[in-house]
Every structure is written in structure tokens, then in C-alpha cells.
Amino acid sequence: MQYVLLIYGDPAAAEGMSEEDGRAMMAEYFEYTEGLRRSGAYVSGEPLESAQTATTVRQRDGQQLISDGPFAETREVLGGFYVLECDSLDQALEHAGRCPGARYGSIEVRPVMVMPATA
């Protein structure tokens, strides 16, 4: 099964980080990603630009509505994601628990929906 790890965190905390801590954090993420690759679970993953760069699009009555900012204004915002191949939720939760972001923010683990095979 595939799972998406959605990494949420408080951007204010990241901004307040010293350069040294920021580098250490990056190193941790590299190491974490490397571990995911080695375990065979890694499918893909990317960090995202800050929520300030987000644009939200809605299509209503044939009109496209574009607005600045993320879909929901919350303290913790989506900062990146991984897509992993795991044998069960337990394995996905284990990987999520090791994600550096789990110590500062939270990781939402969501199964990728399996579309029924159209035979």
C-alpha cells in the first residue's frame, strides 16, 4: 500500500531557527530520506516553499477564483511530503515517527486511495 506523509509545522518556529540549526535540520532530512530509500519504502518526496507562496484556486459556475494563501489559515502549515510504499499502516507510522518533522510539528499519514480495477 502507498501512504503519503504530510509534514505540518509552525513556520514561525522554522524562521526563528539559527543558520546552524537549519543546516542540522537539512542534514537530518537527507539522512532520513536516504534511510527511506535504503528500506525500499521511498516512492517520492519533496519539501514545499512556504505557505506565503501558496495560491488557492476554485472553479465556481464556470469562473476561476484565485486567491492568495493556503486553503486553510492554521498555525501549522503543510511543509512537505513523502510518498511511501509500506506493508501496513504500522510500517507507515514507524517511518512517520522517525521523520525529523515529527519532533517539531506533526505528520499526517494518509493512505493513497486504491482505485478499483476497471476490468
Binding site: L89, D90, L93, M113, A119
Partner: protein, 423 residues
């Protein structure tokens, strides 16, 4: 209900969890497993009254449920490829359990099912409902009655929980060793929650619902039998048995609460006490660092072994609470320790502890804190303060039987103008 239908019900109640567990592992889907066992139940209702209960009902249920599951899989054409593979696997696996098999050939895989139902990825109320439905085999109306919830609420809760188990890939298995301690603890917590819901109903006119407590004991027995080396599994079963052994003495004929000190001990179930005490001793022997359930069981065992309330060894109970607070600190255990200390050393020592709990604040809305303080203040002759504390306790009690008890105690306080002690 006819006596035949009642007999079918009895057999299914005791075999439901085992059959669902086995099918869930093979099919990889607890919802399908549940439906298949339910199909077998309906088949039994039709056939057993005429043919008689089979010699080995367990194997009969599994065999019929297997066939029904395979039928269901074949009917369900949406996941075709999936279905072929599953059907083949299910057939291979389950051909071993035909109707003539003897009892021991059907393995007991309920532990996997219990761990699945109590998976921390599910909300607590979903864990409780799933465990009662799939492991204990209660019907939706029974669960709704037991939890004082509406049937559609429980039905929907179960549908959502089963959907999450399937869609999120919650595995049907006993967790690996490195997770076992944590997962066992949260699983035992679910069982104890079910027990407590039966032991003291949190709301409603009745003080307890024996059937629910009985189901929790059955679940606890399954876990401790299948995990004989886990001291906390034995400890929890012991604790529940010891508390449950007092059920008939906890209320009087009018349904009023009788506290342990005034209970008619001849009404305590001695066989359950004997089993509970033996299990407590076993749990304590298994480890040098007993956990919360073993320690709570030990406390209950001290109570159970006192011939009269006056014979209770309060010093030992206070010491056990000290140990409990180190393992599992909680304001409620601290409050209980203050009661034990008040009975071992006197109300002043107990009140000092209770006051420090009150100052800390987390029990401010618990009627038990105020009732405890009221009792100690009363024993110290501080009637006015005691009356005020009883009134707060009465306001906060959620259970009518408990509220009536507090009202009686308030009425029994001596007039403040005639203090019991001289200053």
C-alpha cells in the same frame, strides 16, 4: 426467543470472536469476516433447531462462514483480480477446518483481532465498539444499550472504524516485540474502559451493568490466556475479577450505593476472589517492577481478604498506593491514597494529602475529591466545612445513586453548633 434460538445465540456469543479472528487473518478484511460469521449465524438459526447443535460447533461455524465468505467474494466483481487470489488463499487455508475437525484444530487467533480493534490509529470510542462487536460478539443493539448510545450512532461508528481499518491498512496481527509493551498497554486500557463502563455507569439511573463488566472480564481472560507471560494482562484480569466479586454487595435492595466499609461481605463472590488473588500473586511474581494493574489488583486483594471492614490493612493499602503513584501517577490514585492514609493514620493526615490534591486543581470538578474531603472534615468535627464540601460533591456527581448517597451523608452530619470535638 425459542430455546433453540437461545442455544444458537449462546454458542455464537462464545465462538464469534474466534471465528471472526481466523477469517479476518485469512481474508485480510475484518468487515468481510464479520459478515461471513453473521451469515453462518443465520444459517445456524435455520439448521440447528432441526438438525441439532453440531458436535463441534466451532468448526461448523468456521466452515460455513468460510463458504459464505468465498460466495461473497465471488459475488463481488469489483475487485476481480483481488478476489481470485483471495478466494484461492481462503480456500487453501481453510480447507483444513472442515466440519468434522476436532476442537483444537481451529486456532485461537483472537489476539490479532483484539490488537487490530484496539489499534491506536482508531479513536477510543471506535476501539471500544469494534472490540465489543468483533471480539465479544455483541450485536449493535446490545452495544448501544451497554454504552447508552443510539443504535444508529453505534452502527455508524462501526462502519467508519471498519472502513478505516481496511482503507488505512491497519494490520490484523499481534504487534512486533519492539511495539508490544506499548500496544498491550493501550489494549488493556480499552478492556478496562469497557469494564469501568459496566462497573460504574457514568450516567443514568443504574449504578452498574453487569453484562458489560462480564464481557470485559471475558476479554481480559482471552488476553491473559493467550499472553500468559505478560504480568499486566494477568494483573488486569485479577483486578476486574476482584472488583466484580463485590457487585452484589455494592447496592442495597433499593438500589442505593453501599460503600465497601458497609458492604455485606457474605455477598462477595468467594470463587472470583480466590481466582483474583491467585492471579494477583502470579502477576506480582512475574516481575520485579509490577505495573499499575497488578498493583491495583493487589490493593483490591487486600480489601477482599479482610474478614470485616475493621480488619482492613490500611497501612498496606497506603503503601501499595505509594508504589502505584510511582508507576502510574494520577490524581485519582493520589486521592485513594489519601483515604487509605486517613484510615491508617487518622483523618488529619489524610486531609493534608487531599488538600494538596485540591490545591493542584485537576480534580476540581470531580465529586469524589469533594466527597472525600467532606468525609475527612466530618471525621475531624469540622461539620460546616464538611457540609459545604458535600454540597459541591452533590452538584458534581453524574450518577443518581451516588448523588443520593452523598445526600444521605450530608443529612447525617451533626449540627455545626454541636461539634463532635472540643477545641
Amino acid at each position: 426467543m425459542t430455546s433453540e434460538a437461545a442455544a444458537v445465540d449462546r454458542v455464537f456469543r462464545s465462538e464469534f470472536g474466534r471465528a471472526v479472528a481466523l477469517l479476518a487473518r485469512v481474508l485480510g478484511d475484518i468487515g468481510l469476516a464479520e459478515d461471513a460469521v453473521q451469515d453462518a449465524y443465520l444459517a445456524a438459526l435455520r439448521r440447528w433447531p432441526a438438525d441439532g447443535i453440531p458436535d463441534n460447533p466451532r468448526a461448523w461455524i468456521v466452515a460455513v462462514a468460510r463458504n459464505r465468505a468465498i460466495d461473497r467474494l465471488r459475488r463481488d466483481r469489483v475487485l476481480e483480480r483481488h478476489t481470485e487470489e483471495l478466494t484461492r488463499r481462503a480456500e487453501d487455508e481453510m480447507n483444513r477446518y472442515d466440519e468434522s475437525a476436532d476442537d483444537d484444530t481451529v486456532p485461537d487467533e483472537r489476539l490479532r483481532l483484539i490488537f487490530t480493534c484496539c489499534h491506536p490509529a482508531l479513536a477510543t470510542e471506535a476501539q471500544v465498539a469494534l472490540t465489543l462487536r468483533l471480539v465479544a460478539g455483541l450485536t449493535v443493539p446490545e452495544i448501544a444499550r451497554a454504552l447508552l448510545a443510539a443504535e444508529p450512532t453505534i452502527a455508524q461508528r462501526l462502519v467508519r472504524a471498519k472502513h478505516k481499518v481496511r482503507a488505512a491498512g491497519i494490520p490484523v496481527r499481534v504487534p512486533p516485540d519492539d511495539q508490544l509493551t506499548d500496544r498491550l498497554a493501550s489494549t488493556l486500557a480499552v478492556v478496562y474502559l469497557i469494564f469501568n463502563e459496566g462497573y460504574v455507569a457514568t450516567s443514568g439511573p443504574q449504578l452498574r451493568r453487569d453484562d458489560l463488566a462480564g464481557e470485559a472480564i471475558r476479554l481480559g481472560r482471552v488476553i491473559s490466556t493467550l499472553m500468559p507471560d505478560e504480568p499486566e494482562a494477568a494483573g488486569l484480569l485479577a483486578l476486574m475479577l476482584l472488583q466484580h466479586s463485590r457487585r452484589d454487595a455494592r447496592t442495597d435492595a433499593a438500589g442505593e450505593v453501599v460503600l465497601i466499609g458497609r458492604q455485606d461481605r457474605s455477598q462477595w463472590h468467594r470463587d472470583e476472589i480466590a481466582e483474583g488473588v491467585a492471579l494477583t500473586e502470579r502477576a506480582l511474581r512475574m516481575t520485579r517492577t509490577p505495573g499499575r494493574y497488578a498493583l491495583e489488583a493487589a490493593i483490591a486483594a487486600v480489601h477482599a481478604q479482610a474478614a470485616t471492614a475493621e480488619d482492613t490493612d490500611w497501612w498496606q493499602i497506603a503503601a501499595l498506593y505509594e508504589m502505584l503513584l510511582r508507576v502510574s501517577p494520577s490524581p485519582m490514585a493520589a486521592l485513594s491514597r489519601s483515604v487509605a492514609v486517613s484510615l491508617a493514620q487518622g483523618p488529619a493526615a489524610g486531609l493534608a494529602l487531599a488538600d494538596s490534591i485540591a490545591a493542584e486543581g485537576s480534580l476540581a470538578h470531580s465529586h469524589l475529591l469533594h466527597a472525600t474531603r467532606a468525609d475527612m472534615l466530618g471525621r475531624l468535627g469540622r461539620s460546616q466545612e464538611a457540609a459545604a464540601a458535600y454540597r459541591t460533591a452533590i452538584e458534581q456527581a453524574g450518577n443518581e445513586a451516588e448523588r443520593r448517597l452523598l445526600q444521605r451523608k450530608l443529612a447525617d452530619l451533626p449540627e455545626p453548633s454541636q461539634p463532635r470535638t472540643t477545641r
